[in-house]
Symmetry: C3
Subunit: 345 residues, 3 copies
């Protein structure tokens, strides 16, 4: 963790907050409302935690006007405590102890251009014609293929793999195990055998993109696979070839997006969803966890699939009836007609 301390007045300036209590009080880390100690800052973003306010041991609390009546201690008062917590959390992140330069055990192709302010860690392999911009950090044992570009201030963690022709923008963060630019799953079938289609496109990642651990983004078949600025992708997501993801969309862990699908801007897609290929998802769409999307979504809104969970014993009965649904529906219709006729008669 960081060794630095901050006074409330320093923190208040960063988040444009008002201060209640001792403006010179100093905190050195962040904790939860229930566990924070007197050297720690905490926050409250959800009214259901107000009950913990009177007893918190935290040195100071980020809170909103409405929470003030529950708390008389040191506080930073702001309209959006969660956002303020996000901003201030970055001050307390672990110091990265790396110093700029190329580790002697890294292998960098002579044609690669590495900024003097970049850090290339031990065991890294960088191929021909790669360009690494200012202040980039490449973590240990990461492999970067020919012709890749990594923009300013981006961080590739350990054990990342970039295939050739992957361009990453500025201020991006790529987590370990991520594989960018592997071949899309493209094959033609000839008399029962698969003939591979060479995947000739690349991958284009915008600025301020975060890509989670073991997430895979395939290269395009002909054109590129494209991830817009500000997109955040959690762990173990699969993005197939030629997918396009619009700016500031967020996808949670283990969701799979099949080939050529276009996801609009500002979508929020929950975890473990499956989105089939060649669809268009309207900007601003929300999809709930583990939904299967097989048709384009033209109207933004919330969409879902699945049955909801049941005790297995009851579930089995519903599953049997699900199979009979069409029959059940027809029988109901026929009965309605009979009753109507009998009443009419």
């Amino acid at each position: 963790m960081s060794r630095q301390e901050y006074s409330l007045i320093e923190l208040a300036e960063i988040i444009a907050a008002d201060i209640q209590g001792d403006a010179n009080y100093r905190v050195s880390s962040i904790g939860t409302l229930q566990s924070a100690s007197s050297e720690q800052l905490t926050f409250i973003a959800n009214p259901k935690y107000q009950k913990y306010l009177p007893t918190t041991q935290a040195g100071a609390v980020i809170l909103s006007e409405q929470d003030l009546s529950y708390f008389s201690g040191n506080a930073l008062i702001t309209a959006n405590p969660y956002l303020a917590y996000a901003r201030l959390s970055q001050l307390f992140a672990r110091d990265v102890l790396l110093s700029a330069g190329i580790s002697p055990s890294a292998e960098v192709h002579p044609s690669a251009q590495i900024s003097g302010s970049a850090t290339v860690a031990a065991g890294v392999i960088i191929s021909e014609d790669v360009r690494i911009a200012d202040n980039v950090v490449v973590g240990p044992n990461t492999v970067i293929g020919a012709g890749c570009i990594v923009g300013e201030n981006s961080l590739l963690q350990a054990n990342v793999t970039l295939y050739p022709d992957v361009h990453i923008g500025k201020e991006c963060l790529v987590h370990s195990g991520a594989v960018l630019g592997a071949d899309g799953f493209g094959f033609a079938n000839e008399s029962g055998k698969w003939v591979k289609i060479a995947q000739l496109g690349g991958v284009r990642i915008g600025d301020n993109v975060e890509i989670g651990a073991c997430t895979t983004i395939d290269r395009g078949a002909l054109d590129n696979t494209e991830i817009g600025n500000g997109v955040i992708l959690d762990n173990q997501i699969q993005i197939a070839h030629n997918v396009q993801i619009g700016e500031h969309s967020a996808i949670a862990g283990c969701t799979a997006v099949a080939g050529s699908t276009k996801i609009g801007a500002n979508c929020t897609i929950a975890g473990a969803c499956g989105i089939t290929g060649h669809l268009e998802i309207a900007a601003g769409t929300h999809i709930t966890a583990m939904s299967l999307v097989t048709k384009s979504i033209k109207e933004p809104g919330a969409y879902s699939s699945g049955t909801g969970m049941l005790p297995t014993k009851e579930w089995k009965k519903s599953v049997v009836r699900f199979r009979q649904l069409d029959d059940l529906s027809r029988r109901l219709k026929s009965l309605e007609e009979k009753v109507l006729k009998s009443k009419g008669s």
Copy 2:
């Protein structure tokens, strides 16, 4: 990309196509119908793209007899343009600049046998008794465990992991992050605690198999896990211990196959499916996206599960009714009997 150019006559020979237009016209890459330029080849495989034919800027188009009436420019005429595109795409794949030989930073156990025509990249670790055949390429930082065999012309990309006793056939392609031969998930329970079952089998991969990024194929418990010739596996697929996959089957991303299940030849299994253990799936079976398979499939055909997607608000109503389905069905039956009796009376 490749720097090579091909004349239409050269390309036509490879795919046994007829030529319309200038047989000496030369192209140097492939693009889509909408984006290809005059130095590029393109193709049309789906009639719904015919509208783009009159205005394409492509130097030549691979098309079928039926498309000819829409296009008077340079063309390669063939019965299956998609297959022809697959074949020709391989000509335009990026040149691999690796030269045969073992990188000085690779560590190869003295007992390993590496063909003189094989390429072992930087940072690779090869253990005892490994055999690497002719023209194999092992990408940077890949780790190969004891006793593994990699057949002729196979390519392991960067950051692949082979545990001991994994045999890979000829002409295979294994993508980055793939892990072959990790322990199957086998445990006995003793009074609430798990006792590990040593996973003593290996992994056997046939010829012409492609394995996607971050796909995992576990070693067998006693016998081997087996992937047949010509199988294609997309990214992030989980193949558990002792699974057998028949020749030329295709599985899309994020599907999981549990232990000891046997998938027949020529199956096509879409993405994000779950297939439970100890099942048999008939050859030629097709399973649609995100289906759960809990019983053996004896008749080939198409199979599905799930509810289809709905706006969340409507979906919630259906979910409530799904729980009541058995009750609903019984009430319908009782009503049918009442109406029948009342009509009979």
Copy 3:
């Protein structure tokens, strides 16, 4: 495989079994009932395999009292043959040929403390303040971040990534491609843009934990993510930030657990499930394959979701009716009232 042979009397002692036949008979490996040869031990744990007993070629069989009437050859008789097989399987595991010590190509920060009995393989990177206990093995190209601790006798396979501040207990096994301690997926939204929340917590793994290939366990946002003693996690599992998993729980491949969810002890969660965030799952709960869990489970028992698989043609009909379920239910109710009224009239 191991080169060692064991007599039945030696094996019987380990598992406290009775012997039928030649107590001095020696076996050198384990096989299945159908495939084992005379140098091999086998076992029968499921009555449906009794038909193979008369013809097995195995040198000896682990079986229960009930199976004895079907088999007159060499046998180890025990109440729980599957558990006995688990224990004995470990004798026949492949010899690890590594010798203690730090590979010359590993890079170990001077501040790291590595036990003299530990093995650090080629290409490993170990950062500052790491502590590696006795008999630990760190596989090739694995990366260990600052401040990590790995307890006695634990084994990290090749290409594992530990971010800073990940503590692993004793006797653990972490498979290749696993990423422990990557950032949790925490962001605040400011006018449509995502602001990252620094993930300041760590990861705490108990003793005797197994973590599968390409499984990801994120670090906590403020407090730690915690995996209890004896937990077993299969491949490609996603454990989000601040999740807690109770002792001896087992999770099968490809299941995703969202942030801050607490899973009790001794749960068994099948593969490809999705468990949303901030839930509590009671100890001893069983969840069947590919279930979506969106609510806390207070009573242990078996839980499921999904529709079951159908031929696609029939499934499509049921899916249409699923959308109409609420309407169908209302129509049934209205019909019931009509019929009741008409009978009453």
